[in-house]
């Protein structure tokens, strides 16, 4: 690991050089009064001062629609893998934590090489949050800062960035920053101050328990009235799934060409809040009640997925679901805190 400092002007030159390289560069940009990850065409468009993006960088790690294989007739199949080297620029710590979790989930048990191959070709430049968003609660979830997964980490310390190269990929990128100098003690302290501030400020909704308590809290509250109370307003639109950086459920569909013989099998994002998510042939729906689907999402985040990844809570506190939910019921902190109110913690 090497830690350097680079002025913002010189950093812009680095981004220009990156864009000119043969890698695809995706970075955070303004779209109206909000922000998105998109292909970066000019260094000026990069906005590392963003608060939160509409969709998380999941859309590059696990694309909304991704070819898995092509077929020729009923029984002839060939794997497809279309990933290309890519630099993902400006990933916030909570989104980095989400990607780290997804890496674990797609590599454990049956190794998903469609996902993992794309990840291996990806260089992630993370950046600490400079502007807290209106609904962020990463501090409550322990993801206001992050210490792994990225190749390079940027921290805005005013007129410069502290740049930490954490991997060989990250160190190679340092070659594009000839003007960077080793970070001074004062710079390192400024970075510490940013971390400390974020661990305090990124908490617009405060979880009243440690995240590690959530599996136990949920275990005791399967039949709690809050599921029904909240879900009564749910439109089953799946917006909370759509914007969530840790949701990774998918559907698989075939698209056939005009010859009615050849085509491509895709996987596409799916959402457990959608009405037919658990419907089988014959129209039997195993999760037909809105409350059951609403509960399932929060159990997945707080209990089920943590059970697969060593207890890490699968909500990283980005707050996107809170903003996206039309009915204003998706706030996980609000639900978990309500469970706390009526639970004997023991």
């Amino acid at each position: 690991m090497s830690v350097n400092t680079i002025s913002k002007d010189r950093f812009k030159q680095f981004v220009e050089a990156l864009i000119q390289s043969d890698q695809r560069v995706v970075g955070v940009q303004a779209r109206g009064d909000r922000f998105v990850f998109d292909d970066l065409k000019a260094a000026d468009a990069l906005r590392l001062d963003y608060d939160v993006t509409i969709l998380s960088p999941r859309k590059y790690v696990l694309p909304p629609k991704e070819p898995l294989l092509k077929f020729d007739g009923r029984a002839s199949y060939e794997s497809l893998q279309e990933s290309e080297p890519m630099v993902l620029l400006g990933v916030h710590p909570y989104d980095m934590a989400a990607i780290n979790q997804m890496d674990l989930l797609f590599s454990q048990d049956e190794y998903d090489n469609h996902y993992m191959c794309r990840r291996k070709k990806m260089t992630i430049i993370a950046c600490d949050v400079a502007t807290p968003s209106e609904n962020v609660f990463a501090a409550s979830m322990g993801t206001a800062t992050v210490d792994s997964g990225y190749d390079m980490l940027l921290t805005d310390i005013g007129d410069a960035y502290v740049v930490e190269a954490a991997t060989d990929n990250g160190k190679a990128l340092m070659n594009l920053m000839p003007d960077a100098r080793p970070a001074s003690e004062a710079d390192i302290e400024k970075r510490q101050a940013v971390w400390k501030k974020n661990e305090h400020d990124l908490n617009k909704h405060m979880l009243e328990c440690k995240p590690s308590f959530l599996p136990k809290l949920l275990e005791k509250n399967y039949d709690h009235p809050v599921w029904e109370e909240k879900a009564r307003l749910c439109y089953s639109c799946g917006s909370c799934n759509q914007v969530c950086p840790t949701c990774y459920c998918f559907d698989v569909q075939d698209e056939v060409n005009w010859d009615l013989k050849t085509g491509v099998r895709y996987r596409a994002w799916d959402g457990c809040l959608l009405q037919d998510f658990a419907t089988v042939a014959g129209d039997h729906n195993f999760r037909k009640d809105r409350a059951a689907r609403f509960r399932h999402r929060l159990y997945r985040k707080g209990k089920y997925v943590p059970g697969k990844i060593g207890g890490q809570i699968a909500c990283v506190g980005c707050g996107r679901c809170i903003t996206a939910c039309t009915a204003k019921i998706a706030n996980p902190v609000d639900v978990y805190n309500q469970l706390m109110e009526r639970t004997d913690i023991g």
Binding site: L68, L69, F71, D72, G73, R74, A75, S76, Y77, E78, S79, L80, Q81, S83, L105, F106, D109, E110, Y111, D112, N113, H114, M116, C117, K120, K121, E219, Y222, Y248, C249, F250, D251, V252, Q253, D254, V256, L260, K261, G263, R265, R267, D270, C272, F277, A278, T279, V280, A281, G282, H284, F286, R287, A292, H296, Y299, R300, K303, Y304, G307
Partner: protein, 279 residues
């Protein structure tokens, strides 16, 4: 697929071609298929497992294996119920489809040795149970008494009629059949499958009981088994869910914390005590 992936890992979503070598309708909606892998290599599986069956351009679905690994090829029974299964029903001998697997948990094939076994099958639930039943019959001396209860909605829906008739003639197993609705051609038991449970001669609390049927059946069968003191850890249920990937990723088959494609489809009932979505 790029080089790094091809080198290290197979594509978990890639089906292998298989050819239909036998096909017949078992009733108005259930199609029996016998498949042979085009690679010539027998699939290694254990009773209880399932495969993902593909038709390029139409899709893929999880289907229980009905054959026993002691026999050649793979037998499936497919109900005509959706887009993919309708298309599979149109296939003829010699046609090909894609298969990947096997996936999922298995019946307690080893653990059951020496024990009395009771199979309770409702409708199409006979299909995966048949895999274990045939396996037991091919290793008959290794297991205790074998009792098979088969309940079917109506006379015309009955599956594997010749095979069941052959089972009924065997001295080393007991097979009882019932249909829900009386029929002119039927002089056997009429009523749901639970009406056969009191007729079981094995020492039920000491037997292993395998249950598979439509969702509505489980509750009644499990209640009936509780009444005659069958411990929950001696009961195995075979559950179905919507599955897309079969490998624990897509999230569709989840029942509470369990993935049916990995932790199931065969569950020990005692493991489902805190799994309210199971049934």
């Amino acid at each position: 697929m790029c080089e790094c992936c091809v080198q290290n890992n197979k594509d978990i979503y890639l089906p292998a071609p298989a050819t239909i070598t036998k096909r017949r309708m078992l009733n108005g909606t259930e199609l029996y298929l016998h498949l042979e892998s085009d690679s010539g290599k027998e699939m290694e599986y254990t009773p209880g497992q399932f495969v993902e069956v593909s038709l390029g351009g139409i899709g893929e679905a999880p289907i229980s294996i009905s054959s026993s690994p002691t026999q050649k090829g793979l037998e499936l029974v497919i109900r005509n119920v959706g887009t993919l299964t309708r298309a599979i029903h149109k296939l003829q001998v010699g046609d090909k489809l894609g298969v990947r697997g096997p996936y999922g948990s298995t019946y307690p094939v080893e653990q059951a040795k020496g024990k009395d076994l009771v199979f309770i099958c409702g409708g199409i639930g006979l299909v995966p149970q048949r895999s274990f039943i045939r396996y037991v019959l091919d290793h008959r001396s290794e297991y205790g008494k074998v009792t098979v209860l088969i309940g079917t909605k109506c006379y015309d829906m009955r599956l594997f009629r010749e095979e069941i008739a052959m089972w009924q003639e065997r001295k080393d197993m007991t097979v009882m059949e019932t249909i829900d609705e009386a029929h002119d051609c039927w002089d056997g038991n009429v009523g749901v499958v639970t009406t056969l449970i009191p007729k079981i001669e094995s020492d039920l609390p000491k037997s292993l009981v395998m249950v598979c049927g439509p969702p509505v059946m489980y509750k009644f069968v499990l209640m009936a088994l509780a009444e005659v003191d069958v411990p929950q850890d001696s009961i195995y249920v075979n559950l179905e869910r919507r599955m897309k990937c079969g490998v624990g990723k897509c999230g569709h088959c989840q029942i509470n914390q369990h993935y049916v494609c990995q932790d199931g489809p065969v569950f020990r009932f005692s493991d489902l005590a805190n799994v309210p979505e199971a049934i």
